[in-house]
C-alpha cells in the first residue's frame, strides 16, 4: 500500500502539562460560578478564559467543524450564564462545564448526524484482534487523520476528544458522560480500536499480521 508523505505530529509530552486540577484553581472556579449566578459578566469572562482552550479543542474534535465548535462554545457560555444558579457542586466546575458543552453538542449534532457508519460495527471485531501493541501509526498526515477521526461514531469521537483533546482524567470523563469509570475505559478502548481501523482502511496505519 502506498504510504504518502508523513508528518510527525507534535504531541505534548506527558511531563509537559498535567490534566490534574489544582485544588486552589477549583476554588477559584467555584467563586466565579457564584458571581456568575449573581449576574457578574466579568466572572463569566474569567471562567471562559480558564477553560476555553480545553472546551474548544473538545468541541472542535467532537463537532468536526470549527464554525460549529465556535457556535457551540457560545451556546455553552449562554447555558452557563443561565444555569449558574443551578450549579449544585456535585462535580467540579470544569466537569459541569464539559457536561453542558456536551449536551449542547448533542442537541445540535443529533439533527445533523448521518446514520451510524459501518466502522462502528467493525470496532468490536478489531478489538478481538491482537492488542494495541500490534499497531503503530508513526507519522501520518494531518488531513488523513482528521478524515479517519471524523468517520468515527459520535460516542467514540466524544470519549477520545475528552481523553486526548480536552485531556480530562477518566474520573472526570465518567462524570461528564454520567457513566462508571469502567465504562469510560472500555469505551475508550473500543474507540481507539475503531480509530485504528479507520486509519488502516485509509492506508495510514499498518495492521501487523
Amino acid at each position: 500500500m502506498p504510504v504518502p508523505d508523513r508528518l510527525r505530529l507534535r504531541w505534548p509530552s506527558p511531563e509537559a502539562a498535567s490534566g490534574v486540577e489544582d485544588p486552589s484553581a477549583s476554588e477559584a472556579d467555584l467563586a466565579m460560578v457564584g458571581r456568575i449566578a449573581a449576574g457578574d459578566a466579568a466572572a463569566l469572562t474569567a471562567l471562559y478564559r480558564r477553560h476555553a482552550d480545553r472546551l474548544f479543542v473538545f468541541l472542535q474534535r467532537y463537532a468536526r467543524d470549527r464554525m460549529v465548535a465556535e457556535e457551540l462554545l457560545q451556546d455553552t457560555l449562554l447555558a452557563v450564564w443561565r444555569s449558574a444558579h443551578l450549579y449544585a457542586g456535585r462535580s467540579s466546575v470544569r466537569t459541569w462545564m464539559f457536561g453542558i458543552a456536551r449536551r449542547q453538542a448533542h442537541n445540535r449534532l443529533r439533527v445533523q448526524e448521518p446514520q451510524k457508519l459501518p466502522l462502528d460495527g467493525l470496532a468490536g471485531r478489531a478489538d478481538q484482534a491482537p492488542g494495541p501493541a500490534e499497531w503503530a501509526i508513526a507519522r501520518v498526515q494531518h488531513a488523513a487523520i482528521a478524515d479517519a477521526f471524523a468517520a468515527l461514531a459520535p460516542h467514540h469521537r466524544e470519549v477520545l476528544a475528552l481523553a486526548f483533546a480536552a485531556r480530562l482524567p477518566h474520573r472526570e470523563i465518567a462524570e461528564v458522560l454520567d457513566v462508571p469509570v469502567g465504562t469510560v475505559k472500555s469505551r475508550l478502548h473500543h474507540a481507539r480500536a475503531a480509530l485504528h481501523r479507520a486509519l488502516v482502511d485509509r492506508g495510514y496505519a499498518e495492521e501487523r499480521p
Binding site: 504531541w11 505534548p12 463569566l44 465556535e70 494495541p132 503503530a136
Partner: protein, 302 residues
C-alpha cells in the same frame, strides 16, 4: 502479558499518554515502562490514538467576543422552558408570561374608569346606574385590547418578533387576561352600585353591560388581529361615541341610528350570537400562521 509476576499498569496507560496522571502515579508507570516491553508497546497504541485525536486546532475565539455574543443572546431571547406547543400547560405558561408583559397603565386605567363610573352612577340617582355601567364596561374592554397590543406599545417587541408563538396567539392570551380582569372589575362595580342604588337588581345591572362589553371586545379583537390594533380602536371608539350620543343627546335619541345602537347595547340572543361568531373568528385567526396585515409591523403615528 509477561508472566513474570509484575503488576502491569494497563489501566493507567491511556491517562499516562494523555498526560493527566499526578506525579507519583506517573513515576510508578515510568518505572514499570522502563522494565516492560509489552507495556511500552501498549503505550505506543495509546500515544498514537492521542496524537490522532489531538491534531493541532486553532485557538478559541477571544473571551470578550464570545461573552458579548452569549450575553446578547441571553438578553434578547427570553429563556424558553421546554413546553409543548399546544395544550393546557402551554396555555398556562403563556398566560403567566403575558401577565408580566401587560403594562401597569392598562390595569390602572381600567380601574380608574370603573371607579369614575361608580361615582357617576351613584351621583346620577334613579335609573342611571345601568346606563353608566353599560357605557363604562365596554370602554375599558376595548381600551384594554388596544392597550395590550401593537409594536409601539410592546415592551418586549424585539424578543416577541423572534419567538415561535404567533403574535395573534399572544394577543389572544393577553386579551383573555384583560377580559378576566375587566369582568371582575365590572362585577365589583355593579355590586357597589347595587348597594347605593337599591332599586335596581344586581342581575339587571350585569345584563346591562355584559352584552355590549363582550360584543365590543370580540369585535375589536377580530379587527386587531385581522387589520391592526389602531383600526380596531378606531372602530370601537366610533361605536362607543355613537352610543353615548344616542343616549345623551335628545335630538339623536330617536330614529334609525338610535334603534341600531339600542340593538347592539343589549344582552340579547342577537348580541350573544354575534359575540360567539366573532370569538370563533378570533380563534380561527389565532391558529393561522403569520402576522396580521397592516398595523402590526408598522409603528403607526397618530
Amino acid at each position: 502479558m509477561s508472566g513474570d509476576g509484575m503488576r502491569h499498569p494497563t489501566d493507567a496507560l491511556a491517562e499516562y499518554a494523555a498526560g493527566v496522571l499526578d506525579p507519583p502515579e506517573r513515576a510508578t508507570v515510568e518505572t514499570h515502562l522502563a522494565a516492560c516491553s509489552s507495556c511500552r508497546a501498549a503505550l505506543r497504541g495509546w500515544t498514537a490514538a492521542a496524537a490522532a485525536t489531538w491534531t493541532p486546532t486553532e485557538a478559541p475565539p477571544s473571551a470578550p467576543s464570545v461573552v458579548r455574543a452569549a450575553l446578547a443572546r441571553a438578553a434578547l431571547a427570553p429563556q424558553a422552558p421546554p413546553f409543548r406547543r399546544r395544550g393546557v400547560r402551554f396555555a398556562a405558561e403563556l398566560l403567566r408570561a403575558e401577565l408580566r408583559l401587560v403594562r401597569p397603565p392598562v390595569w390602572v386605567a381600567s380601574i380608574l374608569v370603573m371607579a369614575c363610573a361608580v361615582v357617576a352612577a351613584a351621583a346620577g340617582g334613579h335609573g342611571s346606574g345601568a346606563t353608566v355601567l353599560s357605557l363604562a364596561a365596554p370602554l375599558i374592554a376595548v381600551a384594554g385590547v388596544a392597550g395590550v397590543y401593537g409594536p409601539e406599545r410592546e415592551p418586549a417587541f424585539e424578543a416577541l418578533a423572534i419567538t415561535s408563538t404567533s403574535p395573534r396567539l399572544v394577543l389572544l392570551a393577553r386579551v383573555t387576561l384583560v377580559f378576566a380582569y375587566d369582568l371582575t372589575l365590572a362585577v365589583a362595580a355593579s355590586a357597589v352600585v347595587r348597594l347605593v342604588a337599591t332599586e335596581v337588581g344586581l342581575v339587571d345591572l350585569v345584563v346591562a353591560w355584559l352584552g355590549p362589553m363582550t360584543l365590543l371586545l370580540a369585535l375589536s379583537l377580530v379587527l386587531a388581529m385581522w387589520i391592526g390594533p389602531n383600526v380596531s380602536l378606531l372602530v370601537a371608539a366610533a361605536l362607543w361615541v355613537l352610543r353615548v350620543a344616542t343616549v345623551g343627546i335628545p335630538e339623536l335619541s330617536e330614529g334609525w341610528l338610535a334603534a341600531r345602537m339600542q340593538e347592539i347595547w343589549a344582552t340579547s340572543p342577537g348580541t350573544v350570537a354575534a359575540t360567539l361568531a366573532l370569538a370563533a373568528t378570533a380563534l380561527a385567526l389565532s391558529r393561522r400562521p403569520g402576522r396580521p396585515r397592516g398595523g402590526w409591523h408598522r409603528p403607526v403615528a397618530w
